[in-house]
């Protein structure tokens, strides 16, 4: 066993930290309040190669391993989860999905600009009536010979407005159930696509979230990923990896709240001493530290398995569930440690607490992760 990071991994972590502290920190609360997307900063993040960091250099990506990705996701999420969710969707869902299952032509045309960060991708699975149960896709992709005709509505789509390339799950053969689902690569500017208003969310308010409506949208046949009916499997395989990204995001939110709490506990005085000297606070910090260390190890283990080309779905579900749940606990405790200051926006922890909540919900709720974990156990 070796817990030592490589020189490159440390450098990537530092680069992500420097980027977040320099570019995101100063207006993160303001953007959160205004639900304002950090388009200019996303562009810089893309130029640094963070949006295609794991894609093979052959397809213009950074060629970094999943461990580096986890480290970068943690650092960005400590400061701004609205930006890190974009990074997660691009890296682990869209780029990974295209790289793993796309044809050479699809990779040439769609993956390369995504990996270079020139374009942004979105992953369109959730529907008004298909959240955790993704088999119930109501969006249809009717086979019209040389193209599919897509109709339906997708919900809670991250990057919906800023993305150029959509990966859309839609039902082609309803009678085959989830085996009739296809994944199609859709250019966002194809006629017939409209966006709902920017979602007014509890947290991650500056991430670009909309519903997307498809009305007789023509998608060429060659834009289908994999064989006919591969769409559901594609989505599930992709989400296995996506969980590592969201787990790292939740870890970052927790670690960000913890670092702020630790600093606060060293500075803030009550009853004649720094509050960290009171056992009530000291023990909270100790509990937080243990959970974060555990969470980080789970994330890194899942990432390591993926890098070693070993099965990682079980471990990534564990990482996602644990990191999301402790993020909620830790951010709540962080607000408590900060007292009144924790409840006002300026001290960041209330925002982190709102952000943590989403990590328990999206890309598979904590409950869904428990299903994945327990099924693997009882198999």
């Amino acid at each position: 066993m070796n817990f030592e990071l490589t020189e490159e991994q440390k450098m990537i972590r530092q680069a992500a930290k420097d980027f977040a502290e320099r570019e995101l920190l100063h207006d993160v609360n303001e953007r959160d309040a205004k639900s304002e997307f950090a388009g200019d900063r996303v562009k810089k993040l893309a130029e640094l190669g963070f949006l295609g960091m794991m894609t093979d250099p052959k397809y213009d990506g950074g060629g970094m391993d999943t461990i580096s990705y986890v480290l970068a996701m943690e650092e960005i999420s400590k400061i701004d989860a609205s930006v890190s969710v974009l990074m997660s969707v691009c890296n682990s869902l869209v780029n990974w999905g295209l790289e793993t299952y796309g044809t050479e032509e699809q990779k040439e045309k769609y993956l390369k600009p995504l990996a270079r960060g020139e374009k942004i991708g979105a992953f369109l699975l959730s529907e008004p009536e298909a959240g955790s149960d993704a088999t119930r896709q109501r969006t249809t992709a009717i086979d019209k010979g040389n193209h599919y005709l897509v109709n339906g509505t997708k919900n809670w789509i991250t990057n919906a407005n800023c993305a150029s390339t959509y990966l859309v799950m839609a039902q082609t053969h309803a009678e085959k159930g989830h085996k009739g689902i296809n994944t199609l690569i859709v250019d966002k500017d194809t006629p017939g696509i409209t966006l709902g208003p920017h979602e007014d969310k509890m947290g991650m308010r500056s991430s670009d979230t909309h519903s997307v409506m498809f009305s007789d949208v023509k998608v060429p046949k060659e834009n289908r990923i994999g064989e006919e009916g591969f769409g559901f499997k594609f989505a599930m395989q992709t989400l296995d990896g996506g969980r590592i990204g969201i787990a790292a995001q939740a870890l970052g939110i927790a670690a960000g709240a913890f670092e702020r709490s630790l600093n606060y506990a060293k500075e803030r005085k009550a009853f004649g001493t720094e509050i960290g000297n009171h056992q009530a606070i000291a023990f909270k910090l100790s509990d937080m530290a243990v959970k974060i260390e555990n969470a980080r190890n789970l994330c890194l283990k899942a990432a390591w398995l993926k890098d070693q080309k070993q099965p990682y779905g079980y471990m990534s579900a564990m990482a996602k569930q644990y990191c999301a749940d402790i993020a909620m606990e830790i951010t709540t405790e962080a607000v408590q440690i900060h007292g009144g200051y924790g409840y006002v926006k300026e001290y960041h922890v209330e925002r982190l607490m709102r952000e943590a909540k989403l990590t328990q919900i999206y890309e598979g709720t904590s409950e869904i992760q428990k299903i994945v974990i327990s099924r693997a156990l009882l198999k």
Binding site: E7, E8, K10, M11, I12, Q14, A15, D18, F19, R22, E47, L48, G49, F50, G52, M53, P57, G61, G62, G63, M64
Partner: protein, 250 residues
């Protein structure tokens, strides 16, 4: 045109500074080492110049005096965008020692512009650049806030006592640079980090012909400042009187 950037390694700004061994040495436990911020800005500017379309800059070399454990810092410079690196294998003793090591190595090489940071975040000596220029018998310009290549011309801005100047300079020359030359240090891109591995890092033996001119004998912690006397928001007047009567500063 070839640019040489001298980099040193210093404790990260937020590092706690403590001393050990009877206050004779820095306690290196827990210290994160970074490229000296001034040097990082000079490297950033060199990279910007090289990236300018039609640039005449052929290569950027970084040079560092230090032991093997400083190589991550050098790799970072390569990841930022330097083309190759030289490490002179010696433990720095004082600024003159470092400058002399650099001079011995550089003397036989061919650079048009040599950049060094005006200051360093460890010994805050502002010395290596000027000493190096002198030993190389090279023109030097200090406190440089801008470096521009305009056609055949090299223009620099510098601070002088009582103002700022723009100069036209003939290469080769050495500039000691400060903030303004670049605004933010370059964050290495993924591609740069990946390529840093394969860029050449040459290790050269140090000369033992140089001796330091100064010796850091011991260190002490600065005395803590007295507690702040706080006045309520509406009482700016009291503060003004304290500054007048107590501190006698106004």
């Amino acid at each position: 045109m070839k640019i040489l950037v001298c980099i040193s390694e210093v404790p990260d700004t937020t590092s706690k500074i403590k001393h050990i061994n009877d206050n004779k040495e820095l306690d290196k436990t827990g210290i994160q080492w970074i490229i000296n911020p001034w040097d990082e800005l000079s490297l950033t500017r060199a990279i910007e110049l090289k990236e300018t379309p039609g640039s005449k800059v052929e290569s950027i070399t970084v040079v560092h005096v230090g032991l093997q454990d400083s190589e991550p810092t050098i790799r970072k410079a390569l990841a930022m965008g330097a083309d190759n690196a030289i490490r002179i294998d010696a433990q720095p003793q004082d600024a003159y020692y470092v400058a002399s090591q650099l001079a011995k190595t550089i003397a036989s090489m061919d650079f048009d512009i040599i950049l060094t940071g005006l200051d360093s975040a460890d010994f805050n000596g502002s010395s290596v650049g000027g000493m190096l220029a002198q030993q190389l018998d090279m023109a030097s310009i200090s406190a440089v806030t801008a470096l521009n290549l305009e056609g055949e011309k090299i223009l620099v801005n510098r601070d002088v006592s009582g103002g700022t100047q723009t100069l036209e300079v003939q290469p080769p020359f050495l500039a000691t640079v400060q903030k303004g030359i670049a605004i933010d240090p370059r964050i290495p891109a993924m591609r740069g980090i990946m390529m840093a591995r394969s860029k050449p890092l040459e290790v050269l033996e140090a000369t033992n012909e140089v001796t330091p001119l100064t010796e850091y004998v011991s260190y002490e912690v600065p005395p803590p400042r007295e507690a702040c006397r706080k006045f309520p928001e509406e009482n700016a007047k009291e503060l003004a009187h304290a500054l007048h009567n107590e501190a006698k500063l106004i």
